[in-house]
């Protein structure tokens, strides 16, 4: 992961070309997902066995798969799935992770802090794929279990980041003053710490979102993610593998969709980071 940001910062960060490209691509993915609720060229789960494995044409822009389903429609609906898993995993990781990090910062160097940070280390030791394999072995593969596995992996990032950034806040003069004035730790956390570190967390969330899309694709590829008939990009790639020699389009389009989405949120994250704070380059990793 990008440990450190580019040193130079454009004067108007939102005008930087990479941020704009990210915004454009990300918008495209979101638009595709939203449009798919009201319109797709074909019903994405509709099979037409006699039209199986058609190459891309005016009729089927991205061709058809082994059941004769329209690949373009499936990719449109697949965007929903990727975004949903990303939102779910990052949402869980962000809320629980930052909450734990903030608590650890309040109790710095106490046993609670130690426990939380040990747990963060520990869950970090489990690659998302491994936890997903274990989770889906027990509860069966599915979208929710993929979300949980990815959340477990992203949680420690948020916990560490929140703790580190919060500790810096706690050392600020006006926070010390507030403390001296008798404000409770919870109140200070709410009024001063949280607003201060929110930007940093949002940046991290954007980058974790990109990672989550990537991880979801990997899990679906292994058959551990969203289950049929709901289309998912990773599973489309898995199914494409045996047809790849004669029907390469089946492998090319879903992969490109994943890569472009991840790229979009990575670029957005980088742009936001430049905007929020050049200092945070140091606090990551």
């Amino acid at each position: 992961m990008s440990a450190v940001a580019p040193r130079s910062r454009p004067r108007r960060w939102w005008a930087s070309p990479s941020f704009l490209v990210g915004l454009l691509l990300g918008g495209l993915v979101v638009a595709m997902a939203l449009t798919s609720y009201v319109w797709t060229p074909y019903e994405p789960t509709q099979m037409a066995i006699l039209k199986r494995l058609r190459p891309p044409s005016a009729e089927h822009w991205f061709g058809t798969d082994q059941f004769g389903r329209d690949v373009f429609s499936m990719i449109m609906v697949g965007a929903r799935n990727s975004l949903a898993v990303g939102l779910g995993a990052v949402g869980i990781g962000l809320t629980i992770g930052s909450a734990l990090g903030l608590i650890a910062a309040i109790r710095r160097d106490g046993w609670l802090d130690n426990l939380i940070m040990r747990m963060a280390d520990f869950s970090h030791a489990f690659p998302a794929v491994l936890s997903a394999i274990m989770i889906s072995a027990v509860w069966g593969p599915g979208m929710m279990n993929a979300v949980i596995a990815i959340a477990i992996f992203s949680l420690p990032y948020f916990a560490r980041l929140a703790r580190g950034a919060a500790l810096q806040c706690w050392a600020l003069d006006y926070v010390l003053a507030a403390r001296a004035a008798g404000l409770t730790e919870m109140a200070i956390t709410r009024q001063h710490v949280l607003p201060n570190i929110a930007g940093v967390l949002v940046v991290q969330a954007t980058i974790q979102f990109a990672l989550a899309i990537l991880a979801e694709a990997g899990l679906s590829y292994l058959g551990l993610g969203t289950q049929p008939p709901a289309p998912s990009w990773g599973r489309m790639l898995n199914e494409a593998q045996t047809f790849m020699a004669a029907q390469p389009w089946l492998a090319i389009f879903p992969g490109a969709a994943i890569a472009l989405s991840v790229l979009a949120f990575n670029l957005l994250g980088d742009g936001l980071r430049d905007a929020v704070d050049p200092r945070m380059r140091r606090s990551r990793d």
Partner: protein
């Protein structure tokens, strides 16, 4: 110093114990009977009971947990339910695929990523820099298993230069074996190379601001020499750290990539063992993976403690 070392060591051991407990508990609630998997659809209840006894599954959970932990400590990983050979042997046989694959990937990633990063830093804010950053963004965004599929499409299906998957074994000769690891290693290396390029670049940019670098330049040391002797060398410390921290990502990647290329390595072994309910292998392997990751994190932390005494006090 000794106190610090001891504290870290205890934390390390506790983390491992925690991992062992979690792994054991998760597999304990896993539905399915390993004996039923081995004996199939028509097995008689007596045969199932006999096999369960043979596998030691008729004993209480707590006893099994302690005999497992005891075994791990003494280096006895137990007998695979499916293959009926020592798990250590099974892991050894698969290690000779995964280890070279991971090493090749790290080497490739370093050989591509570090020079590219250095190149970008040396050409800061010029075309070369921009090109490297575009490469890095692409490398981070492209899923490595998709990249693997594309490599197969081009070099195996299309050109026919390299095998599309499978592994002939090292006894088939060095070159044939290496050939079948080449595409997977490249696929695995791509995101790592991208990360290394970015880290190297920014670490070098930061080092370039340091006083001693400016001094060296002021003293008339050539730019190229400064870059290589001072900047790159000092920037390598964070680069190596990131390499270590990326280990678990590399491991996760290897699990997927081994499945893309049908390589008989540790990653595939995890999958097969889950599918065949060879839980003892799953337990040992997951434990091995997390122990490796925890150990590498521990080693990095320790290294930093040695380099920077302030950290010792802080933690």
């Amino acid at each position: 110093m000794m106190g610090y070392l001891l504290r870290r060591l205890v934390a390390f051991a506790l983390t491992l114990l925690g991992a062992a407990i979690v792994i054991f508990l998760v597999l304990e609630i896993l539905p399915g009977d390993p004996a039923a998997v081995t004996l199939g659809l028509n097995a008689a209840p007596e045969a199932l009971a006999a096999l369960r006894a043979e596998m030691g599954l008729d004993q209480p959970a707590l006893l099994r947990f302690f005999s497992w932990i005891g075994g791990l400590v003494t280096g006895d990983l137990g007998l695979s339910y499916t293959y009926r050979v020592p798990v250590a042997q099974l892991i050894g046989e698969r290690m000779v695929v995964t280890l070279p694959l991971a090493s090749m990937a790290i080497l490739l990633a370093s050989a591509i990523g570090i020079p590219l990063g250095a190149l970008a830093a040396a050409n800061h804010n010029r075309a070369g820099d921009a090109a490297v950053m575009v490469f890095a963004q692409a490398g981070l965004a492209i899923p490595n298993f998709w990249f693997g599929l594309l490599l197969v499409l081009v070099f195996a299906v299309g050109a026919g230069w390299l095998p599309a998957g499978g592994f002939p074994g090292w006894q088939a000769g060095f070159w044939p074996a290496l050939r079948s690891l080449l595409l997977p290693a490249v696929a695995l290396a791509l995101p790592q190379a991208a990360i290394l390029a970015r880290v190297t670049r920014s670490a070098m940019l930061e080092t370039m601001q340091e006083d001693y670098v400016r001094t060296a330049r002021a003293k008339g040391v050539s730019r190229r020499r400064t870059m290589l002797r001072h900047v790159l060398r000092n920037a390598l410390i964070p680069v190596v750290t990131v390499l270590g921290l990326q280990f678990s990502v590399l491991l996760a990647g290897a699990i997927i990539i081994e499945n893309v290329f049908a390589l008989p390595g540790l990653g595939r072994l995890v999958f097969q063992s889950i599918a065949q309910h060879d839980l003892i292998v799953v337990k040992d392997l997951v434990m091995l993976f997390s122990a490796l990751v925890v150990f590498i994190n521990f080693a990095i932390e320790l290294l930093y403690g040695l380099i920077d005494p302030r950290l010792r006090q802080a933690s």
